[in-house]
Symmetry: C2
Subunit: 161 residues, 2 copies
DNA sequence: CACAATTGAGTTGTGCGCAACTGAATAGTA
DNA sequence: TACTATTCAGTTGCGCACAACTCAATTGTG
């Protein structure tokens, strides 16, 4: 049915969706790097703080689920946040395998400063809030789809070739 | 005009567009990692090869412009591709500051194998080509906008607050 | 209860991405 | 023609992402 589009065409840089995605992520990263400089946070650290502000005390595992990160990334990241005095880590008494992470007073204090970050980013980018909401929803669906495709064997529907 | 949305709301994990973007990029990365395993390439290396297949010989600088990467990232990446025997680097005779990068025979041979990668990825994700085209265009505009905002001072238009 | 399997956090190693820097080559200018 | 400024590639250092691994704690099963 679909005439196979010229194979050559598929390998053009401009045609790689993931490349466009990658670039947008990095461009956004630059904006955030700037906005977060004063807070002394990297963007992933900022996301971790957001998760902790929002949910309160979390295990490393739960935090990893929320942020889509494994312990290999989170452990050193949390260690840096702890060194910065923003969080504390403590073995769970109920399950000694788990480690509970929670914000310190300094970490909570940072929350007030962080309020301005989304505002700054929105202003700098000048993007329409409703467009952003739509984009976010679209990306969410895309990620779910890709995760499903990554987890199982072939996705694309049961009747696929 | 727009009633400032609750500041608390802006710091919710689900509301971070960049987070959604980041996650989609990483989810896509997983798919590509799989698809590229046989070629022995990482995703950024794959993009570099695509650029070289498409444009032929390129300076490191030009390649960096195409891929949105600086020499700090490209130099070691190209060194790895050279070690793998896929590209060669050579000082330009016209301008001894520049280094020309081009594919080897092995690098060209890999092109045939790489033809299947976009097909595999498309099949695994099962995403509608027209949706993808639209998403790519949207992301392109977003990136341009973010780059402009990052380069200049405040973007958001001249009449912004 | 004993013991294998699983779970949770951490470590190690590799590669990417970026800032800040070095050093050589070229361009621009007094 | 000297001399400064810029350009280009590369290096260093740091943080993130991920695979593969370790080790202790817990769970499941006989």
């Amino acid at each position: 049915m679909t005439t196979t589009p010229d194979a050559e065409d598929l390998l053009r840089l401009e045609h790689q969706v993931c490349f466009a995605l990658h670039n947008a992520t990095r461009a956004f990263g630059g904006i955030y790097r700037d906005a977060l400089k004063d807070l002394g946070l990297t963007y992933p650290q900022y996301l971790a703080m957001i998760a902790l502000w929002q949910h309160g005390e979390l295990t490393v595992k739960r935090l990893g689920e929320l942020l889509r990160l494994d312990s290999g990334t989170l452990s050193p990241l949390l260690k840096r946040l702890e060194t910065a005095g923003l969080v504390v880590r403590e073995r769970s008494a109920l399950d000694e395998r788990s480690v509970l992470v929670r914000t310190t007073a300094a970490g909570e204090a940072l929350r007030a400063e962080a309020q301005s970050v989304p505002v700054t980013v929105a202003r700098r980018t000048g993007l329409d809030p409703s467009d952003l909401r739509e984009l976010r929803a679209l990306l969410g669906r895309l990620t779910d789809r890709l995760d499903a495709a990554g987890a199982g064997a072939d996705a694309a529907g049961p009747t696929d070739c």
